[in-house]
């Protein structure tokens, strides 16, 4: 196991390194740099004619004239060694201040979504497979096709309407107004949970539908395995048998696709967030790109990709823990 963990860990570090280079490359991609934009901001309306020399000077001040690999090195070492993501040029304040709580909120939303996804899809998928062909099974199948077919921004709108109509709850945003800028407290966390479940539910919707089908399919396969019949022939009580033998293996494909789920959640997040009025990282990322505020954009991209890579690592570890054949490299 130690060897397995070490291998995956090395793999993850290497991936993160490559990802950081890619992110930096993407940051450099848009034409022009912040120097132009800075000059424009500084001198617009002052009547001063901006010359190439002035822009050059700004560029030197911001350190943008140095070769790309040096700037990459500064950037990444600042992040790794000091947690310093550089300056958000358009706000003239460190990137970390701009991102602030949004990182944690995005993470919270992510984990809440994953939790709902797995807590719902795994037991129900297993149940549907065990009761295969029953009314409940057909019902769940119809539901999950519905889940796959309904775009989640539409679902978000429907939920928003229903929640307002029947619960009178303020579901937009992540906090009630009185907590928006309040310091963290238990009451604030509870307020967050109350606001979090709706977007998490919306984001989990299609993932539940998809993973439910996956679990149902693998569980159906596993139920017919000889090893299950053999365990039954040894007199293992049925409920324990289902959990220990087929169900244990039926969650493998779910565990191995955690990374995909995270990826998909991040892709769906901006549109859901826009509908539900959440301020999260995706929204900020878009703005940063429009402003060419590359340190902010880079920090966000790097965080999102890091989360995906780390979750892939976690998924690998879980899979190795669940399945000795993988752990032992057989």
């Amino acid at each position: 196991m130690a060897r397995f963990v070490l291998e995956r860990l090395l793999g993850m570090v290497l991936t993160l390194f490559l990802v950081s280079i890619m992110v930096y490359f993407i940051m450099e991609l848009p034409p022009g740099d912040y120097a132009d934009r800075f000059a424009f901001r500084k001198y617009s309306g002052t009547g001063v004619t901006v010359t190439e020399a002035m822009i050059e000077e700004i560029r030197r001040d911001l350190g943008l004239d140095r070769p790309a690999y040096l700037r990459y090195f500064d950037w990444i070492s600042g992040i790794v060694l000091r947690g310093d993501f550089g300056m958000a040029y358009s706000f003239l304040t460190p990137v970390t201040n701009v991102l602030g709580d949004k990182v944690w909120l995005t993470l919270g939303l992510l984990f809440a979504t994953l939790l709902i996804t797995y807590a719902v899809s795994i037991p129900i998928g297993i149940y549907a497979a065990v009761r295969r062909g029953s009314a409940a099974d057909y019902g769940l199948t119809v539901f999950s096709y519905l889940g796959l077919a309904l775009p989640n921004f539409l679902l978000a709108l429907i939920m928003l309407y229903c929640a307002n109509r029947w619960f009178g709850a303020s579901v937009g945003g992540l906090f009630s107004p009185q907590f928006e800028n309040a310091p963290w407290s238990l009451a604030k966390v509870w307020d967050l949970v109350k606001h979090l479940w709706l977007p998490a539910f919306v984001l989990a919707w299609s993932a539940v539908a998809y993973q439910l089908q996956t679990v149902r399919a693998t569980m159906s396969d596993e139920l017919n395995k000889l090893s299950v019949v053999a365990a039954r022939a040894r007199g293992v009580p049925e409920t324990r048998l289902l959990v220990k033998y087929p169900a244990r293996l039926a969650i493998n494909p779910v565990v191995s696709t955690i990374g995909f789920d995270v990826n998909r959640i991040f892709s769906e997040l901006p549109i859901v967030a826009a509908v539900l009025g959440l301020t999260e990282l995706g929204d900020l990322l878009l703005k940063a790109y429009l402003d060419l505020d590359m340190n902010v954009a880079g920090a966000i991209l790097l965080m999102l990709t890091t989360i995906i890579v780390v979750m892939n690592f976690v998924s690998d570890l879980l899979l190795g823990w669940l399945d000795p054949r993988i752990r032992m490299g057989a």
Partner: protein, 335 residues
Amino acid sequence: MDRLLSVENLSISFRTDEGPITPVQGVSFGVDRGRTLGIVGESGSGKSVSTKALMRLLPGSASLSPETRMRYRAKNGETVAIETLKPRDRALRRLRGGEIGMIFQEPMASFSPVYSIGNQMIETIRLHRGLGGRAARDLAVEMLAKVGISSPETRVDQYPHEMSGGMRQRAMIALALSAGPALLIADEPTTALDVTIQAQVLDLMRDLQRDLGMAMIFITHDLGVIAQIADEVAVMYLGTIVERGPTREVIRRPLHPYTRGLLEAIPAIDRLDARLKPVPGDIPSPSQRPSGCPFRTRCPEAVPGLCDRAAPRETAVGEGRAVRCHLHDAARAAA
């Protein structure tokens, strides 16, 4: 004799997409304590489903006919009516494993790949022997040693994929025996193994059976294997037993044309050059059962007008012997 298990009129039907089929019809056999019954027959003749019925392991699409009687004399002296057991009955759980053990053709697939051999053995020991912790583990190690697995203390913690095919089948035997069954059902336990290992496993099973005084139902395609291991034999064809009796007598003087065909198909050592003569033709599918005698479509001696009219009854022939064939009945009537 001390009857451990008796099966009468076992008929099994399946609901399928093409309508109901009845791959096993009116099968009767018995097993005495400490003896071995061999069941032989071609693929699809219904050997596996018959023994699965004994453990109530058939899928939900299967049903037993109302005439089916399966009586098992449990260790505590009670007689269990297997066909009446409910899926959640304690008696059924005791029967499975504790009274009747089962090993299958594919040793790899019989183990769950994600638990160690020891984990699955200890689970069984806990369930049926009431032992826990250290004692259960010790017994598992002891059973592994008994089936001839070297360094059982380390093997017990290994996973199925770390073992060779022959060793896995030995471990499977140890797993079944660890519950201490009075009857072991072995469904083609050596078919997936290569020839030398087959012989070893066969020897092992014979020795274990003698040592433990256990009864056995041994299923195979191969009458040669039956000759080595079984006291009694039942020859199965298309879901019915066409001939049964003490192994030596059946082999010396087969009465049913199908049994004769199977015997001729065994390549003899002293005439290896002689071509293997399998019974010609293919076994029909259960959905296309021929009228009359099920074997008549392949029988070299079939009599038109007789064999296609009615299914032959089982006729007793001497002590513990029976055959199901019109020709035999006709010959007897003539005599």
